[in-house]
Subunit: 348 residues, 2 copies
DNA sequence: AGGCGGTGTGTAATCGATTACAAGAAGTAA
DNA sequence: TTACTTCTTGTAATCGATTACACACCGCCT
């Protein structure tokens, strides 16, 4: 099979082996119906004999596309993103596209430049999961429409008008807080996301709004700072534990903080949910297995990934004119409230 | 800045704008010292004016390389891999290479074919984190040496002689079990990894060996099946809880199973570590925040990723001859035992 | 026989960057 | 002035696949 030699077989080798021209080989591969039965078989045989695989660089150069999409996400180490990636990877792999993952954390220090390859001629599309990228990193100064098609998922940048796949964060927060209210809680606190995150405000506002609509108020000292990390959840627990005027329930902007919060409280012998109820956001795998299992807003993460991927594929099929003509859709996916053990009526 | 027009600026546009030839532009970019001061400045100015970025497809076609490495991993949704990826991405991004991530789960059903682009002419190197891939998927039938350089990390395929980055799983298991023995445990069980995984046997053997070396035996009924999932951990807990002849300590082949195990036990009012001690493997972020916090083998996941990446870069710089001449190294990274709350002396 | 439509195939241009080679300019030594 | 470096630049071939265009061939109709 194939000479043990040096370089990979090219389409010319196949053409030679099959006794046809390179054009015919190419046609056989891309559009088998136009070649005759006998040629087709000869070509397929030659491909098998030579072990030929198409050179994507050459194809991409010629077709002016790259066969790859880039995913920009803030932190690859965060398990929240892994299922989203999984959904994206699934759809893209079906579409025959490869997925290029780029952690944007290094870019923060390395200023506002994206890696060289996330460029209109190196990827066919971009999915952005990071709302804190600098706007000028994502748009070409002179001509924004040249940039590869782009969609946002989960987070977004308000100034950039592109399709967004998200959940209704405010509404979800309302649901979470209403659940606590219906259990009888009147003193409800919140652990916030990072200050510069687009989601932080809407989750906080949703919670505040739900309280206000029943004539209650969320005291400022019940609003704990956070940054989506386990650590910040346990910090909040320390504050909660150290203060006298405590909420009886805490709604957390993400599961990691909720679990960090509960962990620290349990360690301090504060019983959840007997002494304080906790609601999370995201429904990480761990949420259902933690003790107590976590009542949380269930974000359909795989669906978010799949939807963003499909939306991007759709936009990639459009011409730039069509893209800018058609308004960027905003897909809002439904959430569920998963009620588990971490919420109960307030003490007393 | 750049006409609002249709296609991305090419090297010819830059050459034209700077009044030089394309060769000079190319040289300015790849080897600035060989062009004169004045030309260099003119070219850089023209690049800025046109907004030129190199077309990687063209470069790769010409240079016969791709500027990308592929990572094959069994399950993108598993948080265990995210930090490893993070380490890989960090090193690769410094080296100017892009990282192409491929979840191998779909390949299991889609038979033994890797995605089209993971081919010697579409990536410059491959990092494999999945020991269950079929061997013929990774090697070309006729000429294995044509395939892009490859390294294994964490898991590997014994029949394929390639560099491996791993920890000493057997030794780590010995450490874990010795810790339990030193606490006074004599009845120690094990939750296994999936049967077809390379790590499963070494972790089980390590545990068994540690028992045997002090004249103890691990009863077959204390060996619980598992598959690295939270769920399988709670299944094991049900079996443990339902049997009369129980081990007083259980060493789990991964943290997820350990946490699932503890979660289910706690739910059944079995106190950990008072009634049963638990040791995990991996040191997921969650391990330290769980209640009780988990005693576990700490795998340096980011370092594993970085090391694998550096090893791959090194192999990529070698000629195929050098690669096959030099034996494939096996890098064994040290683990630590993180003693936390989930282990204590046996009851009574 | 001449013309026409349809198939199937080959020829050659093309995508954009790199680089071997050649050639011109400028400087130095004889 | 000629010969010979040294430095800088341009010309053109090349990487491998795709595809517009042309052409050869076959069968069929008038």
């Amino acid at each position: 099979m194939g000479k043990s030699g040096s370089k990979a077989p090219s389409i010319r080798d196949v053409a030679h082996a099959a006794g046809v021209s390179t054009a015919t080989v190419s046609r056989t591969l891309s559009n088998p119906d136009v070649v005759s039965e006998t040629t087709r078989e000869a070509v397929f045989l030659a491909i098998r004999e030579t072990g030929y695989t198409v050179n994507l660089a050459a194809r991409n150069l010629r077709k002016r596309e790259t066969g790859a999409v880039a995913i920009l996400l803030p932190n690859l180490a965060n398990p929240f993103f892994s299922r989203i990636l999984s959904g994206i990877a699934e759809v893209m792999s079906e579409a025959g596209l490869s997925v290029l993952i780029s952690d944007t954390t290094p870019m923060a220090k390395d200023d506002h430049r994206l890696p060289e390859y996330v460029n209109q001629n190196n990827v066919d599309g971009i999915i952005v999961l990071d709302g804190n990228l600098r706007q000028d990193a994502l748009l070409n100064r002179g001509s924004p429409e040249v940039r590869a098609p782009m969609v946002f998922a989960c987070e977004w940048i308000s100034q950039i008008d592109r399709p967004i796949v998200t959940v209704d964060n405010q509404e979800a927060s309302v649901r979470a807080v209403q659940h606590l209210l219906s259990l009888g809680h009147r003193r409800i606190g919140h652990i916030c996301g990072p200050p510069d995150n687009v989601l932080t405000a809407s989750r906080l506002e949703g919670a505040r709004g739900a309280m206000q609509s029943v004539g209650l108020r969320m005291k400022p000292e019940w609003i704990y700072p956070g940054d989506f990390s386990l650590q910040s959840g346990s910090e909040a627990a320390k504050i909660w534990h150290g203060s006298s005027d405590r909420p009886t329930a805490v709604y957390c902007a993400c599961d990691e903080m909720a679990l960090g919060f509960i962990g620290e409280l349990t360690r301090r012998k504060v019983a959840v949910p007997q002494e304080v109820s906790v609601v999370g956001f995201d429904d990480l795998d761990m949420a259902a297995h933690f003790v107590p299992s976590l009542t949380t807003i269930c974000q359909p993460r795989v669906t978010i990934g799949r939807t963003a991927a499909r939306l991007l594929l759709e936009r990639m099929r459009m011409t730039p004119q069509e893209r800018s003509a058609r308004p960027a859709p905003r897909v809002v996916l439904p959430v569920k409230l998963a009620v588990r053990e971490s919420t109960a009526p307030p003490p007393g």
